[in-house]
Symmetry: C2
Subunit: 292 residues, 2 copies
């Protein structure tokens, strides 16, 4: 297992972590500048932030500063209530692949979607098996496109509390079943993003990380699970402030040969998004060296 | 699959559902009276409610009215930070078995506990594997005692969002692995409580219900998953108000031969606990007949 205590060479910042500074939106160029200033070597930007700043502009900034990406957030949201919705998802996912390629991301992260309409509070139906089947078909189709663009797809199993509205792929085992089905030869074109927040609770986690192996471990995300957790979406904790044994999980991932970035992704309406982004980034660096 | 549309013969009320009426605590005798008045045949009371009303008193009320129990809530909370804590949990669980026997419950439901201290906001450690090992040992020891009292133990896998503070058994598969280990002969002394709220998201649910079989399906709980869900603990929905395909899951359970009560367990600070218990119970009956 790599020693992170001496520097933050392998720290990446998911830009949602500093999406807000003291409660106000922080534009992506400002986030990039603050990261570069601190010697942070990698980021994982969100599409809406890239769009707001302009893809060409962001691409130029990233290249100028020699930044790497640890992923691109995000594609997915495959299920839909009708054919038009499925086609819209397909087209949007292809654009996401193109953007990821332009930014030289190592993978496009997929948050696969849940029951259509549930995120807006009104699910079109209750058939999660149908949603899962649409996810399978959506990934299968996107995979052909992504292979041509040489852009690996990383299925991110989301915590089961998001099964209805954000992602109906909820365990590493389920994500790897999809990988086995759609990329049986383990070409590296399809894998998983392992976010400790989503999977820490899973009694089969160690076993499934071993099953994934290096070819399918495309990203590693960290934050922490707070007790109590005040909000299902936006109350993630800073590493070290919660109950997740992050080094243990990182050890399992690195035992498979994963040697990439440890990406910090924290959504925190009540705490970190209220602080200055400088404080948040400095804390990320400190915690990366001590508790990740 | 049984037809529930004509009556509510197989409806049970978990008494937490009407723990409060218009925001005020409702004593268990009042809950029992309101259930009896509506022809509800079974309840599943919580220990704190029984204690407040007096065990002998509750036992007498139940027998006088010819009420059945669909379960007794609850034992568990096995993990502890030290030997004294483990012993206290052991002793308390034995008392729970005795109470369940006095009330002629068909099973004692086990919410197994998580990281010690996490429920109070300060976890003693982050070793969920250790907690799980203490759960295993705790159930093994309690099982000997419960067998003598002829009281089946029903492990309730809780939703993974409770893994830290309430239960580190989080899937049906995990609960059944424990059953296989501790009661390999399927004697009926150890099984599971299947609560749709906790397990509806699980891609292996149908398979694991079939694995459980009739001998191990000791209880069936219903409510619904709301989108959005405002609170991790106390924002459960009334059946029909959320996204869970309850009849599909009930069909799987009954296909194994389960022929017991469908127990309504709703924790709802912001909605149902603010209404009158009469309205809540009447709604439970109506929904039992139409969407369960």
């Amino acid at each position: 297992m790599r020693d992170f205590s001496q520097d933050h060479r392998w720290l990446s910042i998911n830009t949602a972590t500093v999406r807000k500074s003291k409660g106000a939106d922080l534009p992506l160029p400002d986030i990039i500048e603050a990261c570069v200033k601190r010697g942070i070597r990698a980021i994982s930007p969100w599409r809406d932030q890239v769009q707001a700043a302009g893809l060409a502009n962001v691409s130029k900034l990233v290249r100028t500063h020699g930044l790497e990406l640890s992923g691109y957030c995000r594609g997915g949201m495959f299920p839909a209530a009708d054919a038009a919705g499925l086609k819209a998802a397909r087209d949007d996912n292809r654009r996401a692949v193109d953007e990821a390629a332009e930014l030289r991301a190592p993978c496009l992260v997929l948050v696969v979607g849940g029951l259509p309409g549930a995120l807006q509070g009104k699910a079109a139906h209750k058939d999660i098996a149908l949603a899962r089947s649409q996810v399978r078909d959506g990934i299968a189709e996107l995979l052909d496109y992504a292979k041509q663009a040489r852009m690996p797809l990383a299925i991110e199993p989301l915590h089961p509390m998001y099964a209805a509205d954000r992602a109906c792929v909820n365990t590493m085992e389920q994500a790897l079943d999809l990988c086995d089905e759609l990329d049986p030869k383990r070409t590296g074109a399809l894998g998983v993003a392992c976010d400790v927040y989503h999977v820490w609770w899973d009694p089969k986690l160690e076993q499934q990380i071993a099953r994934a192996g290096k070819e399918r471990l495309l990203a590693f995300h960290v934050c922490d699970w707070l007790t109590p957790t005040a909000d299902l979406l936006n109350d993630r904790g800073m590493m070290g402030d919660g109950v997740i044994d992050i080094p243990r999980i990182r050890g399992w991932v690195e035992a498979q040969g994963f040697a990439g970035y440890s990406e910090v992704e924290i959504f925190s309406t009540g705490n970190w998004w209220q602080r200055s982004h400088e404080e948040t980034l400095d804390t990320c660096i400190a915690r990366h060296k001590t508790v990740v």
